[in-house]
Symmetry: C2
DNA sequence: TACAAATGCAAAGCATGCATTGCATTTTTG
DNA sequence: CAAAAATGCAATGCATGCTTTGCATTTGTA
């Protein structure tokens, strides 16, 4: 899943590790989210969005989620 | 995690199975979310929220997510 | 240039989301 | 009341999120 995490990190001048610390995960987790290795859990998505003062929908790109 | 899924289901007069079908999971998954057995994935949370025309934050209750 | 900080990336293992099956109980409806 | 639909709930297994460790490469800075 695409995210605006790299963009938001740069705007706030944060390293992957600083963001990781801020939301309580490891740097590797942030890396994996940024390069689309896997999708964040709901609570992690919430923490990241809230950290940047945004909603989950503003940070994560759901355009590839299939319709039912 | 608490959710408004039971409430929203009743408003829309949907059974657990109908909602499950609509968002592409099994009835057991909906049951588990409703009784707090586990937390939805981000994509499932999105599908459920979108199905009801709401945002993720409007459907799921993040008040128990710790601050960092 | 030299060093430090930041990032990329991979493997193994644990934790959790979800499917599948199955059955018992409750609720609805004819 | 009788049958069907809806819900509760448990066990097993697979898929995926996340951690941990470690090292190589790139980027920033004195």
């Amino acid at each position: 899943m695409n995210t605006r995490i790299p963009e938001l990190r740069k705007q706030h001048k944060l390293s992957q590790e600083e963001l990781a610390l801020a939301v309580g995960v490891t740097r590797q987790t942030i890396t994996s989210l940024e390069c689309g290795k896997y999708t964040a859990s709901l609570t992690l998505a919430y923490k990241i969005a809230k950290y940047f003062g945004l909603t989950i929908e503003e940070v994560f790109d759901f355009s590839d989620v299939e319709e039912f």
